[in-house]
């Protein structure tokens, strides 16, 4: 399958630096230019979907017709505190330690 040259170009180009910040990723200058070019190329291909008329089609979120899985609202055993903390990058007083959030 080739990239479809006839697909309409996206109205605006992706702003990789901005989107990366939304995703909490900081990019080195070289990385940013590389991703900009690669993602524009990928989005050109993705714009192929504009060829299709999908009016009246229900979006499909997942593949099986299972909805509202309830369980009894009872206490169940969970991960022990110590086990949950075992992989903590930084722990103090049995809690996850993070940089100050409020001044």
């Amino acid at each position: 399958m080739d990239v479809n040259a006839n697909a309409p170009a996206s109205p605006e180009k992706i702003d990789v630096a901005y989107v990366a910040h939304l995703a909490r990723i900081s990019l080195a200058p070289g990385e940013q230019e590389l991703f900009q070019q690669q993602l524009e190329h990928i989005l050109d291909h993705v714009n192929k979907l504009n060829e299709l008329d999908v009016s009246g089609i229900e979006p499909m979120a997942h593949a099986i017709p299972v909805k509202n899985c309830f369980r009894e609202d009872v206490e169940r055993p969970g991960l022990a505190h110590e086990a949950a903390m075992r992989n903590a990058p930084e722990e103090r007083h049995g809690q996850f330690f993070v940089p100050r959030i409020l001044e």
């Binding site: 910040h21 192929k48 060829e51 075992r86 996850f96």
Partner: protein, 494 residues
């Protein structure tokens, strides 16, 4: 008797039951084999020799005490994305280097409950994103049939380990072909069950509406057994479908006389390597000789599948991978405030392909683009599912190549991510539609590189798929083929 490491899972179970070997013998044989060949293959990321032997001795004690188990004493290895209590789980990523899983994935727990010895962590593309295993942040995996070529991905280590006799069977995960494509490249059997068939609890999530766990094996019957053991509803995964596991071993031998086998015309319209096409067409002739009737079918939205897949999969990944922020687990790079810490941690911890996909996924979900990309892709997904629903009205199974060509070389596609994505064209539709699919060996391109036949069944009709796969395997000579992987006697037991 053949060497222990060349036995299928069923042959291993027979040998254990007859008492011709112990689980410790089998486990030791694999540990020696891994020591002898894995510096060339690179399939394993982690192996705890002492723990594996201790677990094997425990299985032997269980057998001596008269206790049973459908997998009692058989060593199995896991893709590094499946949590096994007390084992590392890095997902092939630096961000999880040093992480130790606090619990068992349900699929793993079910294998253990049947007596399996769980050993070793298998290499993979970082967070299961890739088609060549070149995105592992640790080291590449080499294809046992040609060390200059990729094993496929993302479950490249799982496929290569089985092909190289480093383990009799393994588990992988398949989001867009990550079991079937490496199985095809490495000449082994690989199964992606229907979405909802196997609990995803304890599988580190990539794209939650597409991910499924499945086995890699040396023969179809072994894959049927492992799929049976892992299947069935699980209260810990509300997308697993309640009900009993399918009976595959009992039904797969029923033959395919009168089966209609669909051949999607869109898959055979160019874009496929000539050697692959010739082998798949020969396989179709074989199925016909076994009493099946090939019928042409149409899957008209095939050309939109890659675009749809890379919107939905990256959107879900961008949300799922938000959890790797250096707060509760994984590695952290200190920052002056939380946002600075997140950005530093994620930039250092994730590799390029993961970053690219998170950014793409964030973009298609962002304000102003959600409807144009994500919602649109979900609608096209419904059309792709509808294509299969229509097709399965006229056939019991569909047959296609698993991949457009045999294994490619290192570096061939890394410069152009889109070219890498397009190589998934024959596998991604299965996940989008939620149906089941598998790859079985169907010959060698140029006489040397394995090619896989992909067999697809309707959702929750793994039985159809296994009947075709088993009939084909029994009628052909591909089962038992192994790569010419010379072992230097001096390395054994190293």
């Amino acid at each position: 008797m053949a060497e222990l490491t060349q036995l299928t899972l069923h042959e291993t179970l027979d040998a254990l039951a007859r008492g011709t070997c112990s689980s410790e013998d089998v486990t030791r044989a694999y540990l020696d084999r891994i020591a002898a060949v894995d510096d060339r293959i690179g399939a394993f990321l982690h192996l705890d020799r002492d723990q594996a032997l201790a677990d094997a001795r425990a299985a032997d004690a269980r057998r001596k005490a008269g206790q049973g188990g459908r997998l009692l004493g058989v060593p199995l290895a896991m893709k590094d994305v499946l949590n096994v209590k007390g084992h590392p789980c890095t997902c092939g990523s630096q961000i999880l280097k040093g992480y130790v899983a606090p619990y068992d994935a349900t699929a793993v727990a079910r294998l253990r409950a049947e007596g399996a010895v769980i050993m070793g962590r298998l290499n993979m593309d970082e967070f299961a994103m890739g088609s060549s295993n070149e995105n592992s942040s640790y080291h590449p995996v080499r294809n046992p049939y040609d060390l200059g070529r990729v094993p496929g991905g993302s479950s490249g280590g799982s496929a290569a380990a089985v092909a190289a006799d480093e383990i009799t069977a393994s588990l992988g995960s398949d989001t867009g072909g990550s079991i079937r494509q490496p199985a095809s490249f490495c000449g082994v059997v690989g199964v992606k069950p229907s979405y909802g068939r196997v609990s995803r609890y304890g599988l580190t999530a990539f794209a939650s509406s597409l991910d499924q766990i499945g086995p890699f094996t040396k023969e179809v019957a072994d894959a049927a057994l492992l799929t049976e053991v892992m299947s069935g509803g699980d209260p810990l995964d509300s997308t697993s479908v309640p009900g009993p596991a399918p009976e595959l071993l009992a039904t797969m031998k029923q033959g395919i006389r009168g089966f209609r086998i669909g051949l999607p015309k869109e898959y055979f319209q160019g874009g496929m390597d000539a050697a692959t096409e010739a082998l798949v067409r020969a396989a179709v002739k074989q199925l016909e000789a076994l009493g099946a009737e090939p019928v042409e079918i149409s899957l008209p939205h095939t050309e939109y599948a890659i675009a749809t897949y890379y919107i939905i999969a990256t959107a879900e990944a961008s949300a799922n991978l938000a959890r790797f922020d250096g707060v509760r687990y994984g590695n952290r790079i200190a920052g002056v405030d939380p946002i600075d810490m997140y950005e530093k941690t994620r930039s250092a911890g994730f590799g390029n392909e993961v970053k690219r996909r998170i950014i793409l996924g964030t973009y298609v979900l962002s304000s102003g683009y959600y409807d144009a990309y994500y919602k649109k892709a979900q609608k096209v997904r419904a059309l792709i599912r509808r294509d299969f629903d229509e097709a399965f009205k006229t056939c019991q199974a569909i047959v296609t190549p698993a991949t457009p060509s045999a294994a490619f070389g290192f570096g061939e596609k890394t410069g152009d991510p889109l070219q890498m994505y397009l190589s998934d064209i024959f596998t991604v539709t299965t996940n989008l539609a939620g149906i089941c699919g598998m790859s079985v060996p169907c010959g060698f391109a140029g006489g040397t590189l394995p090619v896989g036949l992909q067999i697809l069944g309707p959702a929750f009709r793994e039985d159809n798929m296994f009947r075709v796969a088993h009939a084909y395997e029994q009628a052909t000579a591909w089962r038992g083929k192994r790569p010419p992987l010379a072992v230097d006697a001096g390395r054994t037991g190293a």
